[in-house]
Subunit: 433 residues, 4 copies
């Protein structure tokens, strides 16, 4: 115990409305692997930390394997487990469907949920194709008219340092944006013996590093700058062309040794094809990109470099963004997510420099609900913040962001990247959602 | 969603024992302010993340104000609220008492709980005096014979980077320890208008920066080196001699502006005197140290500097430790708690340097239960890890560390520091617990 | 005085050959502005620090304005000043011509010097066009047959950390190279009132950020990887289309305020056109790029991003290179030029991380001649090291690197970048020198 | 070539006074090892970079061994070599004596030089005892009356970032100083086989880490705060009690392997005893401290920790100072000497943080004479700046700082540290020079 701040006090002082009085937001989640675990942690925590108009009920989680989904429900805190996501969509006692499955099932589930009048939170990337994403955005627009809300889970918008960066840009402190420099660097498949998991197969994952992590930096930079990418020139590369087929998902950790292995079959609970992928022997072709690099222009005149790769040895989760404007600059690195570097070119010349802002003050986004200054938060908090904003939007009758339109805009960029890469890196315009 | 590792999979694969089958560890908590909130988050989370032999039940929380403790129970997830901690001690349906009150009530509560056969987790510092700490350690020794466990909450031992540092020392990778350089730097009372909260009054807090944050670096360095401090030379300073009396706790945030203000009276739920402190007007004397600095020797021959202060402008939670040994060095900073810097003097000369280890790999302590590499954890996770180890110790019939003896040893150091400071900084030996 | 190492001792112990006995390397320099000052510092220092087979004589410096070149000679330590560079080429008492003028005069001077049998050190970029660079490389090849040496001044190859990075790649410690990430970020013309100096005019400078600083990262990355760039996709941008004409060079500092202003006319000593540029009033068009961005492939299979800009607010001399290979990675930042970050993926997993190597050990390139470990060197030392290697090559009858062929290869990349940018970013192959 | 700024231009524009017109400052240097080399580099360079009222003549260097001192003179750029420093003092053609010998000869040489009316620059620490230092300060006071100047070589005051820190304190930007945190960390004798060089013998070096590097942090912190240390509590330690006797200085590098070895005998040119130290075999006792740690109070009310050690494995030249004030803080690390970290507690709360100022702007101390922004300088530049300020003081008839009084004040602190350490760390007042 080293400090106690006003936040705790104020929060407790507010407690006029008791939990029992609050409206319920009843949630059903589809999929329960990595994203399912992260979302569950956030659903469990959000009302404990934030004063919100609704109280979350974690009604049910869906997965195909009865034993596994039961175990997951118990562990993750869901009241029930079901083996068909359609059951969640059909039930009256569920208000919101949280989609945590691989991308190939996003569209089907989301369309059904919206049609049933359920709010939807869908993991990113929104879909595996522009066509699917358009259908989803269209369905979201229709549903909106009935007060049904849809949100895409680009959770990094809710990292406080990223939200602070957005605020700095909005406040004009960077001036006119000239440069965006974005990279998302990971290294978990540098080992050629790492097996051919579903993320390395186009039919299931849509694309490789591009959609998985490239989507994050596209959304994040469009968000913080407030500008669309209008065109790209791209190249993609697959360094390891063939990989061992995973004998069985549960055996991956053994074969891949200390390196991180692929996802459990359980994540693909809504995707039969994904599960079947884990059966054969020998090797198979990697059909997605290992790395995607592109140049871009933004609508306000900035030029940009983007890079997404799973082959940046030593970079574990290196999402880095730097923005240079006419009045200032800012830099962010997800491996130090509690910090934002800000350069104020309007300060006295002899004292200019990049200021390492420790984004843990009550004045910073989301932080007044957490710990005293200097007490760090982690990766999972971005999801708790996402749930907070979603709950407030649903209760307040406003549209949460990133909307499906925002996510479609990301999809249009990813599509242009792939087309440019297939076309000799030629400049490729990005349409408007 | 950017990755999924074996950890999630393995964890879910294990689920042979269902939650329902598990033994219960029934917890009652006293106090519900900053530490109470952090402990609650940990109790709620620990079984969701770790596979443990017991399942926690958050039975009841105690506090004197009925409305406030009820609100806290609802918010923090406790089944019941009670207004007298003695009720928790007396109940049959509680196995463990978690003490989150200010230091002046630790001894009373802990002694009662141990006498009643309850396991005890007590926040640090263990007590406000050596005499109290000795009584507590003695009671813990007696209780141990009946299988009752006692642990002191020096939670930073459970930061993975700190645990990794301990492991490096144990493995001999630093060689013979020559230097310890420890500082705990905060800045939350640099404003002279910050009011005279209980932490600034000796009768309630025992000491100032020394016991509040100095205790952490004493414990942490004794832990990672595996060596006791054998003597000290110290000075203490109170920069601001008088401060405004807090008109009322709830008004603090207004008067102190953006600076963090004092604790709510609710934290002092077991300390009537603390609550009364919040009533008068005018100013009062600060009766504790603002800063404590000392030199020390460790039993293995190392020399050390220690500094604890609340006046290090710009340092929010700057717990920094550097250890230099004959074969290597390591450095840690709590403001970057996911990192450990390690220097290996046995590496080829041209490639030597401080290696920034991102302590997020499955091979690192506690991390295999969390997220993929590069996905950071935060401050609160140290408590979850603490609860994990405590649960395992209780279930396994072993003694958790830090024990009350460990905490008494810290108290002996704090006491020697105060005596040296009062005695012209003369060298003052530290006894053995 | 804090340390004294063996290097000083050894060096002094060597002193069997006295200065008087040594061969002379008699140098004539053309141009005496920024580069001229840096080269002069290096020529004055190199024999004081390194034991070399030849002793430098700083015979004469050439510039068109008699008063200015005389003052420069006195200040910078040249024995004589002359007003026509052709005089230097014609003299018998000069062995080497050091070309420090703007790019538009490089070819003329270098060709004349080589034809006259003088060794040549030519600043980068080698020329303003591929055609000129080809002529120069061809002339260097011819001259080589007579033992005449030619070198291009990509001085950053001689930063010890860069040389160490090259050594790590050569030793196979990074394995197969997959990614190159290079940026050279400056911010000295972000102010729209910064005047239209010669560097912003195509007819004098050849290109903008591309040739000025982009050339450095092209050479540096081809050097450290040992691989040529085989193709590019590029875009360029000029953010500020028109700028004030510089009333007179000497008035620039007043008009541009605290921002760095343009070069003095004296730098253009061999370029009448450049001098005339400083006369008119009003504004004129910027005819070069402010920023150049490109993707690239290297012959060994790596993919790369490159960015050169003078609009990266807050980045003063931010030349950054990161290389990711199958076995390790390394990162360098010229703003911390005494450091190299190295990641060894073959180390035990729990201790992997980026190691900050302080490149000041006697085992590091060039460092045994300087100060004890931990005592930093600066920017100018790269030139001293360059002169050292050039002197040794001339004396030893070997070809110094980067050769004019190396520099032509850089020119071919720059040319491909401009053609790709002019052609919708389409993929553009880079020829082989 | 990447930029050219106004500084070069302005400097050259000034050239109205030619070198030939200028007054001469004729220098004789005693000792020619590490410090002699660094000083020589500075004497050679200072007039090439700064516009100064006097032109340095490097007249002669003194050392006892004829061959060695001749070689040194040639290499380092001195016109003559002499074998008796008294000859320098006696000559009419020398204005200033630069003392670069070990501490045991400082007093003798300085007193003789001042008595002969020579200006004196004396390396730090000023002397090996307070008594000697008092004599020197007294002699300097007497000499001052005749316009003779004396300066002590605490060169780190002239690191631009340190000078900027001083300026920030003077301008009140840190407010009232509360904390000083200073450490000078090296690791060059961690190897027990490192031999017993003169720096490890009290009769020659006076003390160990304390006087060698501790003196630097004492002077630097008194300088930047503008406050004297008024009292200390200290401990010292010698980790390795006996060491191999150096068989011969020239053989040290072989026996010590890659670790830095001891000084050449030549450094002790004025100290016969030091030279003799290099002859015996076997081992001998280390008679100085390996590490010295102390607490201190400053006259303005700040409290401080100081640490000087040669056993901080991995820290090569880690002089670190942090100052916390009521309005701001600043931190400096000599291993990144081009940077200063500054925290402005008066900035808007959400944007506060430590700003990494790259101290390479023309607005920063000394920098307008060097390279463009972002182009680093090194260790040796601190000496060039020292010579610049000394030349200006001599020419301007003002007293250079640090004066012998300043250096005596440092000596008084060192003496108090040793007395406190010998006296059970008891508080020991520091007298006023």
């Amino acid at each position: 115990m080293g400090w106690i701040g006003p936040r705790i006090h104020e929060r407790q002082g507010v407690a006029g409305v008791t939990t029992a009085d609050k409206a319920r937001l009843r949630v059903g989640m589809v999929g329960y692997a990595f994203m399912g675990a992260a979302h569950s942690q956030a659903w469990r925590t959000v009302n404990r930390v934030f004063d919100l108009p609704s109280q979350v009920s974690m009604v049910a989680v869906a997965g195909r394997d009865p034993a596994k989904v039961n175990a997951a429900a118990q562990r993750l805190g869901w009241e029930q487990a079901v083996t068909d996501w359609r059951e969640l969509v059909a039930r009256d006692d569920i208000d919101l469907i949280d989609i945590c499955t691989p991308g190939d099932s996003h569209a089907t589930i989301a369309l059904a949920a919206l049609a049933a009048g359920k709010h939807v939170l869908c993991e990113k990337p929104l879909a595996n194709s522009v066509a699917e994403a358009r259908d989803m955005a269209s369905a979201a627009a229709t549903a909106r008219e009935s007060g049904v809300r849809a949100m895409c889970g680009f959770n990094y918008r809710r990292v406080p340092a990223v939200a602070l960066l957005r605020r700095l840009v909005e406040d004009g402190r960077l001036g006119e944006i000239r440069h965006v420099r974005a990279a998302y660097l990971q290294d978990w498949i540098t080992d050629p013996q790492f097996p051919l998991v579903w993320r390395l197969r186009r039919e299931l994952a849509g694309s490789g590093a591009l959609g998985d992590i490239g989507a994050h930096i596209v959304d994040l930079t469009q968000y913080v700058t407030g500008q669309r990418i209008t065109g790209v020139s791209a190249l993609t590369e697959t360094f390891i062309k063939r990989r061992p087929l995973p004998a069985e998902s549960s055996g991956l950790s053994a074969s891949a040794g200390p390196a991180p292995s692929g996802p459990p079959a359980t994540e693909a609970s809504a995707s039969p094809a994904a599960e079947e992928a884990g059966i054969a022997a020998g090797t198979g072709p990697v059909t997605v990109d290992d790395a995607a690099l592109f140049l871009a222009r933004l609508e306000g005149g900035a030029v940009a470099t983007y890079e997404a790769t799973r082959f940046a040895t030593g970079r574990k989760n290196g999402l880095r963004v730097e923005i240079n404007g006419s009045l200032g600059s800012a830099a962010f690195d997800l491996e130090r997510l509690n910090e934002l570097e800000f350069y104020d070119a309007t300060a006295p010349s002899a004292r200019q420099g990049f200021t390492r802002i420790l984004v843990t003050e009550p004045e910073h986004p989301y932080l007044s609900a957490w710990w005293p200054p200097g007490h760090l938060i982690g990766y999972e908090h971005s999801f708790t913040h996402q749930m907070r904003d979603l709950i407030e939007a649903v209760a307040g009758g406003t549209d949460p962001r990133p909307s499906f339109d925002d996510a479609l805009q990301v999809q249009l960029v990813l599509d242009a990247v792939e087309r440019s890469a297939a076309n000799g890196s030629g400049w490729t315009a990005v349409g408007h959602a």
